[in-house]
Symmetry: C2
Subunit: 490 residues, 2 copies
């Protein structure tokens, strides 16, 4: 806030007077001892910390009432919907020359919450995450307040050790004896990391020389993969044409024989196949590629096997469901997002790497001497910042660590089992209910189904039926979306 | 937490009894109406929300006392230092099968705070950010609680509009009439975005075909640039050899004549020069490259001009200091991190692009139909997720919007002016004080100086002196570090 005078709301008259007297006293003191440079008084606080603290405290109360408590209340709305132009007016977004009053700032916070989608709500089904985890949330508040950046031990001692502990445990669940890894801003970025690591492993010169003198690199993934594989190929200079999409079976799983054919085709073309991105939990169907058979092919043709388990990785924590990822220990790298089914909060994504020869660091280091001095007074292997494509990096591992500490592995396992039991229940309900048609029996938490409007219910399910149904869905803006909420059974 | 029984601390006896009675009642009800699938009771809450809420509330209190209030207290320690092995033991990092007690979880939170570096502390000088901004912090708590992902309007209506408003205002301060942009996870990633955009602009085929059929791409940056430019060249498949580092003058600024020579050299070699990354505020010296002269060369040779103003961009808000970035309006793209001098909290970084022909979207889109349906009931130009290399993306613009609303442009300007006045003050003090030697007169907030130990103070400043001094610095682990804190005058 720009000046103390603009603090108008949220206080009793008496309190106001007290604050004013204190302020006047402070001002006098300040003037007396002022150090003036270029017209700025340098000593004394830059901000009004008392008012700031009060603001944080009041907003925290609003958050507790309007976001956290309402999150559990199924009778509340998921979203107070407004179209863009109207919402702009309601929010008063314009940034002005002078600061707003305390009262107005509180209103902004209330409005932002009011018109935002409550992704914690039991009926939020839009994406591959949902619900609230209180322990993760508390950890997130801590990191926001501490404002760390995870690159060197001296500036982030706790969070670097926490990241190490979490990575170690995730590696254990993948089934590797050892490994390395890094938390980064998303599954998409994790896939990029892996792709770049793989080409560096095959052609270490690439870091210095780039691709222009290299043979054409080719990589493989299924037709049902996440779109980030394509984005990665483009961003890394490989080109989307050099992503060979492998056919999937009727359940959306990559067909290993088709993969082998495409690898052979790439070889015949004189290009350099180097990387397979298998998917464990596809975005739409929730399909798991057959990792063991894919790993055989990767070994045979010396290809890096990456598993995009951003969505499906959480099943590793369930003794009942981890068989979905059978063979994952044979992968060279794995992307796994605890911010999805494990509810760690956006973002919380790890790339895990089987290699233990410091490949991550060799591939990504730039040896910036201002940050990663070699003459520190502690073991500099804890300065993991040079493994990253980022400089500042968030302490994303901590929130997941906190949840894991709170629930234990057993509690996380229950979370996964519960999500999949809920999916099973939904499938049974869809089957029972008129006007709903299941697309296929799910193996994970994605349930794809059609809603059949009354006008089409008596039609034969031939070509005309599907055409009309598809058209109706478009009209209703109800395309096949994953249903993954691990709550909301009424 | 794993079970209600483990909730041992933080309550009075009477409260405990009450909770137990309520719990028993709830349990009975639940059993009565239970829907059982695969051994999981599906109806009823997945987590104990009352205990969870209490935990969040208590942790919030600890944050207020131990992080936020202590942040303003210069008598507190910046860090309770412990070496890695000892800290591991103190923290009890191991992740176990069963959850920990409520009391133990509270202790974890307290310890994490205790042993973390207080980056809000007035004496925190380690990196290019410092201090606490209460309004930004409140906004950060809101986004953590709402847990949004900014890709489609339907799931993030408020935060997409806020991002648009902030980008628009930043574009105004750069001096463009229009433009585009995206908040992303850091200055390093912003530089990557820009580099990829530039090559796509020059060779649109690159997205599909990749670099293997392209001429060798060459880019230019100064010797004093941030290390991320090199990382970007490697990650994007261009190769670090194809980064031509341009000599700087004695103040650390790129020498335009040297740039032109190197562009000509690259052309003679038959390679394809395409991109210049100028720096506005270098990491060590705080130097600003001469943008106008560099822009002339970029225009002459048809090169994309990117300005890495991650650190220096904030000066644009000061009428007094914006001349440091004279010519920035001629850039094709700008990286600017409000999480540094403007204290928006890590991370808050924008890439801004002058182009208004939807270049960002054309370059980055993958048209994932499950997320970016074309048949929605609102203007889908608000679905900005397809401009990004990420899928989930954090609402980083909101915290900066909140600070801007609270302080107004004038307040942000004061923040910048204050930081630079403090730097001026420090320079004057260094000059006055025995045993300190200024490296050069700063133009920004980076002050580089030597500490001269008593044993060297009477030596002549020849070769031997500098060698000994440099050796001493290594011994003392006191290399030349930027001093940028906008507080801490004692």
């Amino acid at each position: 806030m720009n000046s103390e005078a603009s603090y108008e709301g949220g206080m009793e008259e008496k309190e106001k007077e007290e604050v004013q007297t204190n302020n006047q006293h402070e001002l006098l003191q300040r003037k007396k001892n002022a150090v003036l440079v270029d017209g700025v008084i340098l000593n004394g606080p830059a901000a009004d910390s008392k008012m700031g603290e009060k603001f944080v405290e009041e907003v925290s109360k609003v958050i507790m009432e309007d976001v956290i408590k309402k999150a559990a209340d199924v009778t509340e709305k998921v979203c107070e919907w407004q179209p863009p132009e109207k919402l702009k007016m309601l929010l008063d977004l314009e940034l002005k020359d002078t600061g707003e009053t305390y009262q107005r700032l509180m209103e902004f916070c209330q409005n932002v919450i009011k018109f935002s989608v409550k992704t914690n709500h039991p009926r939020f089904f839009n994406q591959l995450y949902a619900g609230i985890d209180y322990y993760s949330l508390a950890a997130r508040f801590i990191t926001e307040a501490l404002n760390p950046s995870v690159y060197t031990y001296e500036v982030s001692p706790v969070f670097l050790l926490v990241e190490e502990a979490v990575l170690k445990k995730m590696i254990e669940f993948i089934g590797w004896k050892e490994g390395d890894g890094i938390f980064n801003p998303g599954g998409s970025v994790s896939n990029m990391y892996a792709m770049n690591l793989a080409r560096y492993k095959h052609f270490p010169d690439i870091k210095e020389k780039g691709l222009s003198e290299m043979p054409r690199l080719v990589l493989f993934t299924s037709e049902e993969c996440h779109y980030s594989v394509k984005k990665a190929a483009s961003f890394l200079g490989i080109g989307t044409q050099n992503v060979y999409f492998i056919k999937t079976d009727e359940r959306g799983k990559m067909i290993p024989e088709e993969l082998e054919k495409q690898v052979q085709r790439a070889r015949k073309e004189g290009s350099a196949p180097f990387f397979v991105s298998a998917t464990a939990g596809t975005t739409v169907l929730g399909a798991f590629d057959p990792l063991d058979e894919i790993a055989d092919i990767c070994e045979k043709y010396d290809l890096w096997l990456h598993v995009d388990a951003s969505w499906g990785g959480s099943a590793l924590l369930s003794r009942k469901h981890r068989k979905l990822l059978q063979g994952i220990h044979r992968a060279n790298s794995v992307a796994w997002n605890p911010h999805k089914m494990l509810m760690a909060g956006i973002q919380c994504c790890a790339l895990l790497v089987k290699d233990n020869s410091n490949l991550l660091k060799r591939c990504y280091s730039a040896n910036a001497s201002y940050l990663f001095q070699q003459d520190k007074f502690y073991d500099i292997s804890y300065d993991t910042g040079d493994k990253s494509i980022q400089c500042s990096r968030r302490a994303d591992a901590f929130k997941f660590w906190m949840t894991w500490k709170a629930l234990g592995t057993t509690g996380l396992e229950e979370r996964v089992n519960r999500a999949l039991a809920l999916s099973r229940y939904l499938v049974d309900e869809i089957k029972k209910r008129e006007g709903f048609q299941l697309l296929l029996e799910p193996e994970y938490a994605n349930i794809c189904f059609w809603y059949i409007p009354p006008s089409l219910r008596n039609m034969e399910k031939g070509h005309e039926f599907w055409e009309k149904l598809s058209h109706k869905q478009e009209e209703n803006n109800k395309s096949c979306k994953p249903m993954t909420k691990d709550d909301g059974v009424v």
